[in-house]
């Protein structure tokens, strides 16, 4: 085992009956990395995290978290990790302070550190003047930061976040990612799942998981160049009608509305752009502009997932 890796997983598999939730997953996460684990709902993200946290026993394969075996040392793993899920698992009927004290006790935060850690959580979550407020009455962003604070009171070297930003407004999401970045700078490894593709940009490294299998891996930049196709941005009048015609034309692999423009996936921009322009003009559309654009992560993931579906059509019907 490489001592630099916080998480190391080899052929990790989990089945529920005949359903394979996670299929022979292999990956490593280096210390101090923000590792983004992406994929659509039901892809196996949460199942993977739950196996790594010792909540779920793998069916087969190996896994090490902080150098400890997920099969046999899950109790020891629990002392070295923090975990927060999309449910922000706080007690609604306890006050902010009572929640902090409760988790401090469960995590056995040393008594002489408690005041300091509590002050840090309150500060970080922006709840210093709300310590006696019932958690129920807090807005989503505050709850989310409080849940994070509670989960890291014991200063774990590894932090698992399962869709930590779902249901939170964009500003709070930005603030949350700033906190994650701060923790990573201090050496915490952060393993985070999300289905917000724009959030993938905050990660040092990404893995895309789909139907239990990892289908892409790398830094955000590396992942973007994985896309074999080019993307054309087309500005045209009556974009809805143009979209329908293009879909029916067979000239594009994929076309979608992006703001007021269309994004079309073509094999190659050099030949694709003139062909599309000619087709649209023949159909009576006025094409204002047509030009290649760099793919967003979302484009890449959508294309990769479709590629996977074409390769393995049986699974797509599920």
């Amino acid at each position: 085992m490489n001592r630099e890796n916080a998480v190391e997983v080899k052929d990790l598999t989990r089945t529920f009956g005949s359903f394979v939730a996670v299929d022979r997953l292999t990956l490593e996460v280096g210390r101090g990395t923000v590792f983004g684990f992406l994929g659509p709902n039901g892809a196996g993200k949460s199942t993977t995290i739950r196996m790594l946290c010792g909540l779920l026993l793998p069916t087969s394969g190996e896994g090490r978290v902080a150098g400890l075996d997920v099969m046999t040392e899950s109790e020891a793993i629990k002392r070295s990790i923090g975990y927060m899920s999309q449910k922000f698992s706080l007690y609604d009927d306890l006050t902010v302070e009572e929640n902090i004290d409760f988790y401090a006790g469960l995590y056995s935060v040393p008594k002489d550190r408690r005041q300091e850690r509590k002050a840090w959580v309150l500060e970080m979550a922006g709840l210093a003047d709300k310590r006696r407020t019932l958690t129920r009455t807090l807005a989503g962003g505050w709850k989310q930061r409080l849940a994070l604070g509670c989960a890291v009171q014991h200063e774990p070297p590894i932090l698992f976040l399962d869709e930590p930003t779902s249901g939170v407004d964009p500003l709070s999401r930005r603030r949350f990612w700033d906190l994650i970045a701060q923790m990573a700078r201090r050496g915490t490894t952060v393993f985070v799942t999300t289905h917000y593709m724009e959030e993938a940009e905050y990660c040092d490294e990404l893995a895309l998981i789909y139907r239990g299998k990892m289908i892409a891996r790398g830094t955000p930049h590396e992942v973007k160049v994985l896309l074999p196709d080019d993307i054309l941005e087309i500005r045209v009048e009556r974009p809805f009608e143009a979209l329908e015609r293009l879909e029916a034309s067979g000239l594009v692999r994929e076309v979608a509305l992006f703001g007021g423009a269309l994004h079309a996936v073509v094999g190659e921009a050099g030949t694709g752009a003139p062909a599309l322009a000619r087709f649209l003009e023949e159909q009576g559309f006025v094409v204002e502009a047509i030009q290649p654009v760099p793919p967003s992560l979302e484009d890449v993931f959508v294309s990769l997932i479709e590629l996977e579906d074409r390769r393995n059509p049986a699974g797509a019907e599920e």
Binding site: G54, R79, I81, S89, L94, E98, D101, G105, L106
Partner: protein, 375 residues
């Protein structure tokens, strides 16, 4: 370890005391149940509604009627001269007992022949019916002894002129007050419901809101988690025992002849079983509604097959066997014994032993299932 259990305890107490529904479940419901059983649900039979048709109208028949109305057990609802009217009153449930005295009653008595009066009882409520019949028989017997002539209730087998002087003495509850019997029983039933609901709901609620998952990624050990989710409710239920006992003794003047400490010890053993069942229900329920339904699914048969209202000896054999698995059955014997008979451990040890075995078994089964659900 103790720190984590202590934190769980504090948390549960804060949650229970902050939740008005929970507070009602713990403090108001027991009192309401106790008052209900103490006052309303009484199986004592008095003021039996009686219809009368005296066709003899002699001083002797009047004297007999006087016996009935003066006893306090019967209240006259109607006096009629038309025998058919008695049937009407019974049919409409306006009377439970009908008495008909035929002409010639006084003549028979004077001649030393057996005088017969006709009584008809509405047997729909068999308990009241039996008691009414029994009272009538006793009154007639007393009357016949006094006048020195045999008086018979038509249709009833009974002793003749020289009736056996049967004197029954009820021990432990000399007035045979059903309240004395019911109130200790109610305490046992209240404990059952409270502990079942508190335990099963509290665990399932944590699962519903996701905090159970959060707890399980902390270094808390399964044993600590189980203790943290059961001890607080055991303590709350023991407080309930004291509160309800106090109301029973101070308000209803139920005597408590035995040791309060022994009662508490019995309650602890009993709670091990009921909390074990509550924990088990929490492992098979996904939502609080399911937990509620499952709790009642256990609660109702447990109450019916316990001897709380219906004597176990009257049940079919199969049901009698089932009662041996019912913790309430044993605790009822313990609590009634301690309250009414002043029984000690030397009399109650079989019940204590049964509860201990049942409690340990139920708690271990549930804890094992609980841990499996965690893994």
């Amino acid at each position: 370890m103790w720190e984590r259990i202590y934190r769980m305890l504090v948390k549960e107490f804060i949650q229970v005391l902050r939740d008005s529904r929970m507070k009602a479940l713990i403090f108001v419901m027991p009192v309401i149940q106790l008052i209900m059983f103490g006052y309303a649900v009484t199986t004592d039979v008095d003021h039996i509604r009686t219809a009368l048709c005296d066709l003899d109208k002699s001083p002797q028949s009047m004297a007999l009627i006087e016996r009935f109305t003066g006893s306090g057990y019967f209240s006259l609802v109607e006096s009629t001269d038309r025998p058919g009217r008695l049937g009407e009153l019974l049919d409409r449930s306006q009377a439970t007992l009908a008495i008909q005295i035929n002409p010639g009653f006084a003549d028979d008595l004077r001649a030393g022949r057996q005088a017969v009066i006709q009584t008809i009882v509405d047997g729909t409520d068999s308990n009241t019916g039996t008691v009414a019949m029994d009272y009538s028989l006793r009154i007639t017997q007393a009357f016949s002894r006094e006048v020195g002539a045999p008086v018979a209730l038509a249709g009833l087998a009974q002793p003749g002129l020289a009736p056996i002087d049967l004197r029954t003495r009820a021990w432990f509850n000399p007035d045979l007050k059903s309240r004395y019997f019911n109130v200790p029983g109610v305490i046992a039933v209240i404990l059952l419901l409270t502990s079942l609901l508190l335990t099963s709901m509290a665990v399932v609620r944590e699962r519903e809101i996701g905090t159970m998952e959060q707890l399980m990624v902390t270094p808390i050990l399964p044993l600590e988690l189980i203790l943290g989710k059961t001890l607080p409710f055991a303590l709350i239920c023991l407080a309930d025992v004291l509160a309800v006992t106090a109301v029973g003794v101070l308000w209803f003047h139920i005597p408590i002849y035995g040791s309060l400490w022994l009662l508490l010890a019995g309650a602890i053993l009993y709670l091990m079983s009921t909390i074990g069942v509550g924990l088990f229900i929490s492992t098979i329920s996904h939502t609080q509604q399911q937990a509620l339904m499952s709790s009642f699914f256990f609660y109702l048969p447990a109450v019916l097959l316990s001897g709380f209202m219906f004597p176990i000896s009257n049940m079919p054999r199969a049901a009698q066997w089932l009662t041996y698995l019912n913790p309430l059955r044993y605790f009822l014997v313990i609590i009634r014994g301690i309250f009414l008979k002043g029984s000690g451990l030397e009399a109650l040890w079989p019940q204590f032993a049964a509860l201990a075995i049942l409690g340990i078994a139920l708690l271990s089964i549930s804890s094992t299932r609980f841990q499996k659900r965690m893994a």
